[in-house]
């Protein structure tokens, strides 16, 4: 009987330990380090010409640098002025985690309306970063 209790105690302690570690990992270590915008990107997914102001015919590129301990979903939501949805995209971070740079693009064939836009980045459904930019004719 003492052996049975000892084994039960070990299993219980191990389970609690694992659960706690997972929660800490999910909330404290997944973060967005950087959000850059520009009109073109390099092969390593960094932005070539950073800017927050675009012209109506531009393709908007976003590079999002994240730091995670494991797999995570990076979702971006592009919106216009009062929150009107412009577009969304998701990129899955591999299980190896680490510092990862994800690249996204946004294009409107007939040109962007002038105004203020907003890029919202969520990491596993938690808002982790926001970037605003403007479209205006030069």
């Amino acid at each position: 009987m003492p052996v049975y209790r000892l084994l039960l105690g070990c299993v219980l302690l191990t389970s609690l330990g694992c659960g706690s570690k997972t929660r800490v990992t999910g909330t404290a270590t997944n973060k967005v380090n950087l959000i850059d915008l520009g009109r073109s990107i390099n092969a390593d997914h960094s932005i070539k010409d950073k800017t927050d102001t675009f012209q109506p015919g531009d393709t908007v590129f976003a590079a999002v640098e994240t730091e995670t301990l494991g797999s995570a979903a990076v979702k971006i939501r592009w919106s216009f002025e009062d929150g009107q949805l412009v577009g969304e995209a998701t990129q899955q971070i591999p299980s190896s985690g680490g510092q990862i740079r994800s690249a996204f693009h946004l294009y409107k064939p007939d040109g962007w309306p002038e105004g203020k836009y907003r890029l919202e980045v969520t990491l596993d459904s938690t808002v982790a970063g926001i970037k605003e930019f403007t479209v205006k004719k030069s």
């Binding site: 640098e65 990862i100 740079r101």
Partner: protein
């Protein structure tokens, strides 16, 4: 056609919803992900840029826009022979390496 009719038609254009909602139409927006890469710990060596093809693009147009010389489309073609089978056929969303 009265003044108000002409004014209304001009405002409405091709989109009857434009006046009703007062909001721009983003239904034709192309949004996507270009993938993820590990952040290098040392500065990256000079490398070709990635260009994402959009609707209406041709290799010569891309060369004109990126290099100021449409005849340099061959360089783009040569740098992407693995993915471009026919230089007259490139597709929206296709990623090209610009040498």
């Amino acid at each position: 056609m009265g003044f108000l009719d002409r004014l209304f038609d001009r405002k409405r254009g091709n989109n009857p919803n434009a006046v009703q909602t007062g909001k721009p139409d983003f239904s034709n927006v192309v949004a996507g992900s270009l993938g993820a890469s590990e952040t290098p710990t040392t500065p990256a060596a000079p490398a070709g840029r990635i260009y994402v093809v959009v609707k209406g693009d041709t290799l010569s147009q891309i060369a004109e826009r990126e290099y100021g010389d449409a005849s340099r489309w061959r360089e783009i073609y040569q740098a992407n022979r693995a993915t471009i089978k026919n230089p007259n056929l490139i597709y929206p969303g296709q990623k090209l390496r610009l040498p």
